[in-house]
Amino acid sequence: MFFMKIITVEHLKYKYPLSDKLALDDISFEIEQGEFIGIIGQNGAGKSTLCQALVGLVPNFYKGSYGGTVLVNGINVSKTEVSEVASHVGLVFQNPFNQITGSKLTVYEEVAFGLENLGLPVEEMKRRIDNVLNLLGLYEFRDKNPFDLSGGQMQRLAIAGIIAMQPEVIVLDEPTSQLDPQGSEEVFRVVQRLSEQGMTIVMAEHKMEKIAAYSDRVMLLHDGKLIDFDIPKKVFSREDIEEYGVITPVYTRICKNLDIKDENGFYPITIDEAHERLEKIL
């Protein structure tokens, strides 16, 4: 199988204005098309900053000092306007409420916001909107006011507004941290669906069970540095993982305490793997 590099980051360094500490410290990595990448790390590790660097909000929104390059689909993000980058890589924020534009009266029109800005013809807009509303299970709410939706629905609407612009990559910064369990589950389900459709996904997230279940590879950040970037099993099996403020999936912790490893010497990270291992032993 031929893999295409969709994101290439080289020696990315960044310092917020008025700050004397590097928020991103010499980060380099590559992401292939269709991969699901999890970003983990404790509070202040630089997850949000990295997410924003992938769409060019860092540095173009904040200014500050910036070094290195971020290429998405061949585009040098820091040297391109955010509105231009938007049709290649989208960003979903934590708070669903702040992503509702407030200038539209229905869910349907809300999705159109970005498309109108891109100057798409009406027919194309309608085709795309119908498409994403169906994909994200929002079609039945198309005539509702966006502010009348539940948290999970609102966050899915935010994702819809981004997906409609047909970016090659979607970045999600803790998309469920402000949602109730049901809303979170709804959002994870649509993210998984997008991944199955072949979309490249980068997601910062504190819920490690979800990271373990969905990610092809996991990026571990600490103090603005990239500590590790590997398959989730390997990252969660690091002996020093807790020093980075990461609480591994509950299944991993149980197996670690019981010293249950697979043939490669890694701890199981999902319930199914743990189950399978335990059955072999018992």
């Binding site: 938007a86 534009t101 407030g102 009406v122």
Partner: protein, 255 residues
């Protein structure tokens, strides 16, 4: 959903007229009586705009505004009736206080003009969705950013108010007294400001970024999902309204 909109759903012919035509109509009801400066023109426009308000079925919404304004307009009658500089002909007297005919007529003209403006502005506001109004203006060349500010404020302010409600509830549940005397309310208000201001600053930053990633500052020429309220006779009506305005200016100078 709370919004600050005055829009009243309806399917009258007035609702179907496009926003720009209505705006021109508002301008004309303001300008022509001023240009003509006659009681008749003020009266004519009051009748026209009142009729349209009735046709639009929003008279019930307009009456309270008229009522409220009337309280203020009583002072106009008193002041002009007593002190208008052209006052010559006594009209009636209450005790030793004399009201003059010239002043009363002048007050009448002002009142007619104000009522007709109220009617025509109400006609615009009650029968036009704010979003349609803003979109029509953006299509006519208003900056999309200014347009966004107008249309989003109507929805976001009520949302912010509900944030404040949430904070008040949170503080109250911690035992803070938020009701009672004025000084108590002020004291209760101070701890509310912090969270409200900080949360709205963070929100504003995030909102600005969320708009950016949806190409808000795009250099492409914006298109519109809604073709807008296309009104068949918009052109004819706009041309006629503007012609009337021009005719009134000409008439005024001929006289």
């Amino acid at each position: 959903m709370r919004t600050l909109s005055l829009y009243q759903e309806g399917d009258s012919i007035i609702h179907k007229i496009d926003p720009i035509t209505k705006i021109i109509f508002v301008l004309i009801t303001i300008l022509i009586p001023i240009i003509m400066g006659t009681l008749n023109s003020a009266f004519a426009f009051l009748i026209i705009s009142l009729t349209l308000v009735i046709i639009a079925g929003v008279i019930k919404k307009v009456l309270p505004i008229v009522g409220f304004t009337s309280i203020i307009l009583v002072t106009v009658i008193i002041i002009q009736g007593l002190y208008y500089f052209n006052n010559r002909t006594p009209f009636f007297a209450i005790g030793t206080v004399v009201f003059y005919k010239e002043g009363l007529l002048y007050a009448l003209e002002i009142i007619l003009r104000i009522y007709s403006i109220i009617n025509s502005v109400s006609l615009l506001m009650f029968t036009t969705k704010p979003s349609d109004l803003v979109e029509a203006l953006v299509k006519k060349g208003l900056s999309p950013r200014i347009g966004y500010v107008f249309s989003s404020v109507l929805q976001i302010i009520p949302q912010m108010m509900s944030t404040v409600d949430t904070i008040i509830d949170a503080q109250r549940s911690r035992g803070m007294e938020v009701e009672g005397s004025f000084s108590r309310r002020i004291r209760a208000f101070i701890p509310l400001i912090g969270p409200a201001v900080i949360s709205s600053l963070i929100d504003t930053k995030e909102r600005a970024m969320a708009l950016e990633v949806r190409a808000f500052n795009s250099r492409y020429k914006k298109t519109f999902l809604n073709e807008g309220t296309t009104f068949k006779y918009a052109d004819v009506m706009q041309v006629s309204l503007i012609s009337i305005l021009i005719i009134s200016i000409v008439l005024r100078f001929v006289h």
